[in-house]
Structures are given as C-alpha cells and as structure tokens.
Amino acid sequence: MRIAVYAAMGLVALLLQAAVVPHALVFGQGPALPILPVVAVGLLYGTSEGAWAGGVIGALTDLFLGGAWGVGTLLYMATGYACGRLAGARGGGRLLVAVAAAGVAAAVVRAAGIAALRAGGGHVSLSALVPSPAYVAYTAVLAPFVLALFDGRATGRRRRRERAARL
C-alpha cells in the first residue's frame, strides 16, 4: 500500500516537474520537485520510510529518463535514509532542517547523477557538478511547504485514530 502511495507521490512530482516547473523558473532555474517528498517522508517518518519513499520515487525517475537505471533509485534512497537520520526535530527547528536538507539533497543528488553520467561515458566537465545557487535555493524554499503538507496529513490521521479510540 505504502509503495503505491509513494509511487503516486512520485508520479505527481515528476509530472509537475516536467509540465509546470518550466513555466515558473527563477533566474532560469526550476526546483528539484521529486526530491521534496523524499525529504519530507524521511524527516517525518524516519530512515526506513525515507529509504522506501526514495527508492520508489527514484525508480520512477530512472524509468522516465530512459537512460541508466539504478542511479536515481540509489540516490533518492540514500537521500530518504539520510533525511530519516535527521528526523526528530520539532517546530521551527524542523522547518530549518527541512530547508537545509532539501538544499543539500538537491545539490548532492544532481552532482551524483552527473558523476554517474560521467562514469557511464558521458563527457561532462567537473564544473558541471556545482549546481546553480538559484536551483538549490528554489528547492530549499519549497521544502517547508511540502513538509507542512505531509505533516498536516499525518496529524489528521493521528487525530482520527485517537478520536476513534476514544469512541
């Protein structure tokens, strides 16, 4: 069930990335939307769920690109796991962690993806590994909103469960 939920989240993120982000560029750059649900799930539910979400969304990314398979899966999985290690912060601290985690994850995933492309025979210069500040900042700024969205859903579920238990 949760795999289907993560797949649906990934599909929506990939569709928005491909069809909506190009109309909302800042300094010619768009955010890395598919990384945001992975970061949010990791921060809210821990390492295991983060890695699952990352694995499913990363696999979808690989599938849609038609290039090497496994790169996106591994990178996103590692991102979800790493964000899960940061889980536990509350309130404003968690939002700051989300901003930082999303920015770092966007930069690292992009750099690792390009490095894998280079390792696979692609002719990419090392300077390409450095992401543009606009790309990192744009992704980081959106992270608290995605986190709040997921947090709201989780809180709603918890309240419904508590109410049902009381009844």
Binding site: L11, L14, L15, L16, Q17, A18, A19, V20, V21, P22, H23, A24, L25, G28, Q29, G30, A32, P34, T61, L63, F64, L65, G66, G67, A68, W69, G70, V71, G72, T73, L74, A106, V109, R110, G113, I114, A116, L117, R118, A119, G120, G121, G122, H123, V124, S125, S127, A128, P131, Y135
Partner: protein
C-alpha cells in the same frame, strides 16, 4: 509485514544496493529496453502531462497579465479600467503576432530545409536535474524516429531519444550524452559540441590545434556525422582555451534556449 532481524536486514540492504549497482552497470549508456520502458511510461502520462503543461502555460500567462494590471493600478488608478482593456488588447495582439512570427519562422525553416519534417509542440521539460531533455507531442505514429534531429527556427535543439506512439523525448544539446559535429562559421574549423549537463552550456573540442576560433564566433552543424543537415546554427562561442594536449576547446552557449521554444521541427529519418 514483520521486519526482518538486524543482521538479515543489513544483508538485504547490501544485496539491494549491489543489485541496483548491477542494474546501473548493465544499463549505464541506456539500452533499447530502458528506452522502450521510458517511451511506454511517457505515453501513459502524456495526456495528463499535456493538459498540465497547457494549464500551467495558461495560468502563467494570466499571472503575468494580473501582475501588469496591479502595476498599472498603482501608477494610474484613475485610468485603471481603460488601461487594463488597452493592455489586454495589446497583450492579445502581441501574443497573436508572436505566435504568427513563430509559426512563420517554423514554416520558413521547413521550406529552407527541403526535407520532410514533422512539426511538434513542446509539452514538457526534463524531470531530473542531471538529464537535459524535453518532451514533444508527436511520436512514432507521426513519423518521429529515435535519433532524428530536432530543430527550431533559431537552430538545433537536439535529437530524439525515446519514441512513444504519440510523444517523444528529445535529448537536448546540453545533455551530458549529447554530441554534435560543428564548424566555426568564420574560420571553418571543425569540432564536436558536447553537452555538459548544465542548462545552456556546451564544451566544443576542435580537431585541429591551429583552429582559429574566437569568442563570439557562430558554430553551425558540420554535417559530417550524417545526422544533422549542414549549416544549421548550434551555438555561439563564449571563451576559447588550449588544453595540455594542444587542442583548442571552447565554452559555448546553445543557439536555442529550450525553455523558450514552443514549436519544433523533427526531421523525418528512416530510423535507427
């Protein structure tokens, strides 16, 4: 599902990572299978993606219009309504003129090329930050084949990477896997323009150590690879450098910015 015990879990995770690395090694240059799966996936989401793209374009246009209205209101409140109407009319006219100009340019390019082409609309950009590509609304059923050159009025956009029946993914010039034979339009020096996985950036390696290339030079397709017709604009040279091997290389900006392209032409080829 019950969680496996600690050591078993570690073994499973390691096996999973090894398996994924194995899959990566087996498919690292992209295989026919990966492309077929990507094409099928693209085809499955094509209607939703196209609808989203059009809706987003519409909203983006409206947002720009509303922004211009707010600005006008601040400056000349008294004339707001009149100004809004006038601006709306101008915007509509401009959009019509711009679209007309784009279509004329595409038509001229089509006539100049003197080869069969398929006109396609752009309906998506790459979902991953390390893979420079765009999606068009024409596919195999319309005569689009893998490897076919994709052009816009400004020059070369890239080449078709995966083909579904009614959509296709185009690998942009800036993609790290992309390479196009080019010629310096001024000096005639030959080279190859390689993608750098960075939007709007190419590295051009020239074959001759004496290539007299200068910043500002226009690079056009050399036609040597047999894929692209000769003489189409590819990029403009930004800076020239000489490597340790003595060969000349240059940093260049592609002639076509894919984020501003709405219509492209796909050259019909016999296929791979």
């Amino acid at each position: 599902m019950e969680r496996p015990p600690g050591p078993l879990r570690t073994v499973l995770v390691v096996l999973c990572i090894v398996a994924l690395l194995g899959v990566y090694v087996a498919t690292r240059r992209g295989t026919a299978a990966t492309r077929r799966v990507a094409a099928a996936a693209a085809q499955a989401v094509a209607p939703a993606q196209t609808a989203l793209w059009r809706a987003a374009a519409w909203v983006a246009g409206d947002v720009a219009y509303v922004q211009s209205l707010v600005h006008a209101e601040r400056e000349v409140a008294r004339l707001k309504a009149e100004l809004a109407q006038a601006r709306f009319a101008v915007l509509r006219e401009r959009a019509a003129v711009s679209q007309d100009r784009t279509l004329r340019a595409v038509l001229h390019l089509r006539q100049d090329l003197a080869m069969p082409t398929v006109a396609a609309e752009v309906v998506g950009l790459s979902p991953a930050s390390w893979w420079e590509s765009l999606t068009i609304d024409r596919g195999g059923a319309d005569g689009v084949t893998a490897g076919a050159p994709v052009l816009a009025p400004g020059g070369v956009v890239g080449r078709v990477w995966t083909v579904a029946p009614h959509t296709a993914a185009v690998m942009l010039l800036a993609n790290g896997e992309s390479g196009v034979g080019v010629m310096d339009a001024r000096s005639g020096a030959l080279g190859v323009a390689l993608g750098d996985s960075v939007p709007q950036r190419l590295t051009v390696d020239f074959f001759s150590p004496t290539a007299a290339v200068r910043a500002g030079d226009e690079l056009v397709t050399s036609g040597l690879g047999g894929v692209f017709p000769r003489g189409l604009p590819v990029a403009r040279v930004d800076a020239v450098s000489q490597g340790p091997t003595g060969l000349v290389s240059a940093a260049a900006t592609p002639a076509v910015d894919p984020t501003t392209v709405s219509t492209v032409l796909v050259v019909e080829t016999p296929g791979p």
